[in-house]
Symmetry: D2
C-alpha cells in the first residue's frame, strides 16, 4: 500500500476544532507526515537569531489537521509511531531571551536582564553505531533518538497554540512519543483532527533551555480508533511501560493528574481496585519531567508492564 | 577491621547541630548503622493503625548523629553506601489520613473527608532471582531494591525534623541513595553529624501514597571528607550517573535548583563553560521526582557519565 | 442619546477572534449589555443542582462580541463601567463537586470524595441603606456591590473558554471591575471584540467556594480607544487606585506579573525609573487575590494614586 | 506599674525551644521590647551595602525569648500590640542580589545576573498630619504605619530561622500586626518563648523587593494566655476584622490554609456550621499577600466582624 503523504506546506499554529482537514485517512493506513522544524527552517547557522526567526512566525508549526475516519467525540485515537526520519543534516537549539527553565520568563517575571541569545548547530552524522549529533563547542556525541515535540488532536471548543500542551496532547515535549510506541489521545471532534510537528533529534528530560535538538522530520504513523473508550489525558504504551502525560502548573498538579489517571487505568483495565493501584504505584511507579519550559509543564507517570502481572 | 556498629537505640527525630554525637568514626572506616523503620516497629500487621503508631512518636527516627573526624564546615562529606540489609522479614506501607500525593494534606488543605486509613504488609521472600516482596491483596512481586529514605547531616543553625528534606539531605526519599552509590552532603558543623533512617525495601518515584515499603535495616557506609570542597545541595554519584537532589515547593523550584546545581558541577569539574553545560543538559539531562509527599518535594537532575566525554 | 442595547440572547461560551460581532459601537456611546447569570438561569431554587445545570451548558456565557469602531491590534480598549443593575430578585451560589478553593479539582487531583453539592439562594432586598442580599441559612446581610466576573476581548489566535482568565481579561472574578472604574484591555483583533457576563452581586476575595452571588445583570459601559498604546495585561483605574490584574498558576507567578506590570506602568506614565517604582511599590503596593478557583488564579497589584504625587 | 523592659542586646537569630528565656513576665503586665532593625544597625547610609552587612550577621534578629507565666503547650498566647515607637530617625530598604519578589533567588533559580544592589534611606519626619518617611530619589511621602515583621513563639521541636514564617509566627511580614491589634499564637513550649524584631515603619502588601522600611523599634505588648484553647496558625483580631495568617509555598497552599482555618474559626466561635462559613467567606472574605519574598509566602484571610452578625 502506498502511504498517504502530507506535505510540510500544510501547517497550522494551533490545535483547533475550526480548521479544515488537509487529508482524510482510514485506520490502519500508514500516513507519512512531513514536518517543519520548530522555527520553520529559519535557523540554519549560529548566525541566525531565534528572536528574528520568531518575528511574524508562530513557533512549532504542526502538519495537519488530518481527519481520521470513524473517530467520534468520546472515542480514543491510537497513534502508532512507526518511524521518524530526519529531513535535514543538522539540528539546532537556541537560548531565547526570557525563555527556558533557568531563566525568568513571561510567566515567571523578574526585573533581571535575559541570558545571552545563542544558537547551537548540531550536525547529524552516521557512525558505526548509528546516527548521532555533535556541536562544535559542546563536543559531545549525542545519539539520534527522535520524537515529536508537539502532537495532538483538536480540543472541543478552545483553540490552543501549538506551543502549549494539554489534555489534547500538544507541546508535551515527551521523549517517549517515539518510534515503536503508541500514543493515545482523547477525541473531541469528528475525525479527531490530528496534527504533529516540532520534531526533536533528541532531548533531555525537562527540555531545560527551552529548545531540544530541533529538526525537520518525516513522521510515519498509523491510526486506530478505539470506539467508545474515553480517556481524559494522553497515554503512551511502549513495549515495556504504560504512561500517562499530564500538563499543568505548578508541576505538582501535573504529577497528581498523571498518577491519578494511571490509578484509574490500572483499576479499569488490569483488575486492581483503586486502592491497590494506589499502593502498587507508590512502590513501582515512575515519574519524570518531560518539559519544564512550556506554558504548562508536562509530567509522565508510568508503570512497567511486568509489575501488572498478578500472582 | 571490625566495623563500628551503631545500635538502633540511638535515634533522633531531628537533624540538629545541637545534638551530642553517639559515635565518632574515621574516614575510610566501615560503619554499620542499625536503623528502625519509619514508625519505630509499631506497625506489624494490617490491624496496626499508623495514626495510632504516630501518637507520641515522631516518624522517621534516624540513627545518629555520627561525628566524622576531620569534617569541618565548608567541607563535603562523601557517604559511600556499601550495603543495606533487611532487619525484618516484612515491610509495610500505609494510607495515613490527610497524607500522600493523591490526598489533601495539612499543606494542601481542603474540606473533604480523608481517604480510608489502611496498612499493607509486604512479606520479604528469597527467590531464585533474589529477594522480593509481596502483599496478599496487591499480589505483585516487587524486587528488593533498598535505599535510605532519610539520610543527612546537621544544618548550621536550624533544627529540621527527619520527615523534611533540604540542603542537608534529610527525607529526600531518593531511590538512588542505594548500595554502590556515593552520597555527597555539605558539612555545616564540625564532624558533620551524620544520621540515617527510614529504610525502604523499594519505592516508586514520588513515594505516591506517602509511604514506601518501610523496613528496619542494617546500613553499612564508609565516609570520606573532601576538604575545602563546598557544595550547596546533596549530590549522588553512581557507576553511571551524576545526580543532584534538590527539595523545594513548588516542584518547579526544586527542578530549577537541581539543574542549576548540575550546570555548576559540570562547569566546575568537567571543563564545560556554563552555557555549554546548560545546552548539553537540555539534550541529555534526566529529571525525576523522588518524593511528592514530604513537606518539601525532592527532584533529581542527572547526567550520564558517558555524555561527559568530550571529543 | 438612546443607548445601544445588546440582548442576553447573544452569548458565547468563548472569547474568540473567530466570532462574528453581534453589534458595532462607537467610542463614547453608552452601551447596555444584558447578561445571563453564570448558569444561564437554570438555577432558581435550592432544589436546582448545578451539576444538572452544567449538563449541555457551558458556564459563564458572555454577551457579545461587540465590535468597537477604531480599535486595532496594538491599541488599548478602555471600558468605563457606568452601572450594573440586577435583572433578577435573587442571586445564587453553589458548591459544585470537585470545584472550589477548599476542594480537590480536575487540576489538583486527589482520590477523595467531593464535598456535598449544594445550592444557596440569596434574596435581593431593598433596605434603607441600599440593596442587600440574604440567605435563609447563613442569615447575614451582604451589601449589593456588583461587578462582572468574566469580561474581556478576543485573543489574537487562541480561543479561550469564558471560565478562564488571561491577558485578554476573561474570568478574572475581580471585584474592582465595578461601577465607576475603568477597565483597560489589550486589543488583539480589529474592533477588539468585547464581551461580558457572569455578573456577581457580591464576592469575597478569592471567590472561595468557586461561585459568587451569581446574578443576571444589565451592564452599561462606554468604550474609548487609546490608539497606539499597548498593554500586556488588564489594568483598572478607580478614583483612588491603579491596578493590574494578572492570571497564572502558581499564584506567585500571577503576583510577579501583576507587580512587574505595575512597575512598568509607573515607569512609563509617572516619572519614576523602574528601580524607584520597584522600591516605592515595596512600601505602598497592594496585592490581593481576586480568584483562587478558576483554571488560572487572578491577583491584583495596586497603588493608591496619592502615592504617585512626588514632592 | 513600671513596665518590664527587654534590651535590644538580648537577641536571637532563631525561634527555638532550646533557648534560655531572657525574661519572665506575667499576663497583663506591659512589656517594652527594644528591637534592632533587620540588619542590626549596620546599614545607615546609601553607601552601606546589605551584602556586606549580612556577612557574619544573621538578618532579622529578634529580641527574646520571653517566658510568659502560665503558658503551656496547647494554650494560645494573645499578644496585644500596645504601641510601636521608632528608635531611629530613619528607615532603610535594600535591593539585595538574588533576593526579592521580582528577582530570581536561591529558591527560584536562574542563570541570570542579579539586579543591582542598592540601599535606600528613608528619613523619618514629623508633619502636621503625623509622622512620615521620605526618600530623596523616590520623593513620595509615606506615612508611619509601623508593625513587627518577625514575631512569634518557639516551635515544639524544630529550630526555625527568624527570616522564615510558619505556624509559630515568625517572619510573616504582615502589616496587620500593628498597634491596636492582638496577635494569637499557638503555644508549643512552656512559657511560649515569645520574641519579636524586624520592625517596619511601613510596608506594601507582598514586601515586594524583599525589604520594607526597616527600622529599630520600641515595641510594647501585653500578653494573655488562653488556657486550653488550641490554634494551628497565627490569628489576628483588629477592631474591624478577624484574620488568619498562613505561610506556605506555593501561594495557593497558604491561601487554602488561611481560609480553611478561618472556616474552622467561624464554625467554632460564631455559630455557623462549616458549610455556612465556607459559603459566607466566599462572598465576604478578604485575602491579601503579606509577603511574597520569604522562604515561605504569607497570605492573610480575613472577615469583617460586621459580617458575623446573624439576623
Amino acid at each position: 500500500m502506498t502511504p498517504i503523504e502530507i506535505p510540510a506546506s500544510h501547517t497550522s499554529p494551533t490545535f483547533s476544532p475550526y480548521l479544515e482537514p488537509v487529508a482524510s485517512v482510514r485506520p490502519g493506513e500508514p500516513v507519512v507526515i512531513h514536518t517543519l522544524d520548530a522555527l520553520g527552517g529559519r535557523v540554519r547557522s549560529e548566525a541566525d537569531s531565534p528572536t528574528e526567526a520568531e518575528k511574524d512566525f508562530s513557533p512549532n508549526p504542526v502538519t495537519g489537521p488530518i481527519f481520521v475516519e470513524g473517530a467520534e467525540p468520546g472515542d480514543t485515537l491510537a497513534v502508532r509511531i512507526e518511524s521518524i526520519e530526519p529531513a535535514s543534516d543538522f539540528a539546532f537549539s537556541c537560548f531565547i531571551p526570557f525563555m527556558g527553565g533557568l531563566s525568568s520568563t513571561a510567566a515567571t517575571r523578574t526585573l533581571q536582564d535575559p541570558i545571552p541569545e545563542r544558537t547551537w548547530i548540531w550536525d547529524l552524522h552516521e557512525g558505526p553505531e548509528g546516527r548521532y549529533l555533535e556541536n562544535k563547542d559542546v563536543r559531545v556525541r549525542v545519539p539520534w533518538e527522535p520524537f515529536m515535540g508537539s502532537i495532538g488532536v483538536a480540543p472541543a471548543v478552545e483553540v490552543v497554540a501549538t506551543v502549549t500542551p494539554g489534555p489534547h496532547g500538544g507541546n508535551m515535549d515527551c521523549p517517549d512519543v517515539r518510534p515503536g510506541s503508541t500514543l493515545y489521545l482523547p477525541v473531541s471532534m469528528p475525525g479527531a483532527l490530528f496534527a504533529a510537528g516540532d520534531g526533536h533529534a533528541r532531548q533531555g528530560q525537562g527540555e531545560l533551555c527551552g529548545t531540544a535538538l530541533e529538526i525537520a522530520c518525516r513522521l510515519t504513523v498509523t491510526f486506530e480508533v478505539e470506539k467508545g473508550r474515553s480517556i481524559a489525558w494522553p497515554r503512551i504504551v511502549s513495549d515495556e511501560r504504560l504512561m500517562v502525560v499530564a500538563s499543568a502548573k505548578p508541576m505538582e498538579d501535573a504529577a497528581r493528574i498523571a498518577y491519578a489517571e494511571l490509578v484509574g487505568w490500572l483499576a479499569e483495565d488490569y483488575g486492581f481496585d483503586r486502592w491497590e493501584a494506589y499502593e502498587l504505584l507508590s512502590q513501582v511507579g515512575g515519574l519524570y519531567v518531560a518539559n519544564m519550559v512550556n506554558p504548562l509543564y508536562s509530567l509522565v507517570a508510568s508503570v512497567e508492564k511486568r509489575y501488572l502481572q498478578r500472582t
